[in-house]
Symmetry: C2
Subunit: 211 residues, 2 copies
DNA sequence: CCAGCTATGTGCACTATTTCACAATATCGT
DNA sequence: ACGATATTGTGAAATAGTGCACATAGCTGG
């Protein structure tokens, strides 16, 4: 049971991917799907799908496949997305605003309950989603009182480490960082980075190789 | 020569990461850096740094380290970011606009030369960066006449595949996709996906495990 | 109740990636 | 000029992840 500690990170990421087509299938009234079909929808190997799921239990029926609704429930349980999460976002530039407005996150249970910026001209402004931009000086106070669990960093790079430290120190359990720098992190806090430019550079490398 | 074909994808992504601190070091007037220091700045193993670089040549000096400026030039040469790239973006919602406005991309040589949307109320609008939003019906024409090499997709998910097909058919060599769906792709076109929600789910999984 | 069919769950071999450990080599001080 | 020192470049070992192949087990129809 506690082999959960050595589950490959790619498995976790794929589980999240599997849930996307499953949601469409549910709308589609497709009751059952095979590992082969799901694999094709996600661009992976069918054995991979079965193995990924097998880390967590036996969710399929031999000779039949997986019940779409049940499987989705199980995956959400595994990923802990069967509950709501409380988040805040620091840095309300273009990217920060786009993320705060995005409906998809809300739909998946990621609730932004606070938005921070250090630019005085932005503070107090109300976003279309209803959030009011707070000064960064209130981060500690609000993270604690609103029990914020995840922090999103969309500040400019030179401020990112400072706010990460502040968030961690205030009790945030995880950080999603969009600033293109390497954040030093404490053990008590899990961090994920998203760097679009890295992806573009990867693409550039491949195109250039072909030419 | 053709051992380039078996260079690990993680190596390419790390090379992009290495270039970030190197740029700061340049400003900092630090002339030389060891694999150990660079590794620490990037949160990886020093042997990894050396091996990654060794795929492409010998850039260091034994007993000394790597010349910061030279190394940066070499990495840019490898990643083909020592030149400009021509890009377009399809879907000028919040995220699309944030990306088009971002100065970092321009600074790194990624030039957005066209922006498309299918919403008639948006077409014709001028973005702060100077781009005029074109109707998606002009994608094929403009990709060809402006020699656009990379397409960025920030449309809503259900339109993403259609525009990906159109971009590929128009001659784009690579696509960066932000819509949370699996895009079917042709061999002639390299695709990278960025899915923030997957990262959040990864974080949620880890936090929930600890509790 | 059994035979035939189908698709899962999984041991194992294979492939990919990371890390170790050390020989090779450049520099510096004397 | 040479030994001490530092740090690279790299084969080989260790670790991680993927995919095959098949025994296993549920379902259906007779
Ligand atoms: N914003 C984010 O943080 C974020 C994060 C991850 C993925 N994405 C994905 O990126 C894509 C774009 O996201 P976004 O936040 O820019 O979305 P958005 O709502 O700002 O706009 C997206 C697109 O939909 C069109 N659109 C939106 N509302 C419309 C309307 N009422 N009528 C006609 N067209 C309309 C716009 O023209 C635009 O092209 C989506 O696929 C989304 O899932 C966004
Ligand atoms: N927009 C993107 O596509 C994108 C992509 C990848 C990474 N990022 C990163 O995300 C972060 C935010 O990007 P963004 O596009 O939202 O940046 P942005 O320029 O829209 O704003 C970023 C932040 O800087 C502050 N700011 C900007 N201009 C200011 C000014 N003149 N005076 C005072 N404060 C000012 C804002 O208050 C905001 O908090 C950056 O670290 C960027 O590198 C952005």
């Amino acid at each position: 049971m506690n082999k959960e500690s050595k589950i490959p990170a790619p498995t976790i990421e794929r589980l999240a991917h599997y849930s996307r087509p499953l949601e469409s299938l549910l709308d589609n009234e497709t009751p059952v799907i095979s590992s082969e079909k799901l694999a094709r929808l996600c661009g992976v190997n069918p054995a991979q799908v079965r193995k990924d799921l097998a880390y967590f239990g036996e969710f399929g029926v031999r000779g039949v496949g997986y019940d779409v609704r049940d499987l989705l429930v199980e995956i959400k349980k595994i990923l802990a997305t069967d509950r709501d999460w409380t988040l805040c976002i620091v840095g309300m530039g273009n990217l920060g605003s786009a993320i705060a407005e995005n409906e998809n996150f809300k739909k998946r249970g990621y609730k932004f309950v606070a938005a921070f910026d250090s630019d005085p001209t932005k503070i107090g402004r109300t976003l279309p989603c209803g959030l009011i931009i707070e000064p960064t000086s209130r981060i500690r106070e609000l993270v604690k009182s609103l029990k914020i669990e995840i922090g999103v960093i969309t500040t400019r790079p030179h401020e990112a480490q400072r706010f990460a430290d502040l968030l961690m120190d205030s009790g945030v359990k995880a950080i999603l960082n969009f600033a293109p720098i390497q954040i030093r992190t404490l053990d008590c806090c899990k961090i994920e980075n998203v760097d679009f430019a890295v992806k573009l550079e990867h693409l550039a490398y491949h195109i250039a190789k072909i030419l």
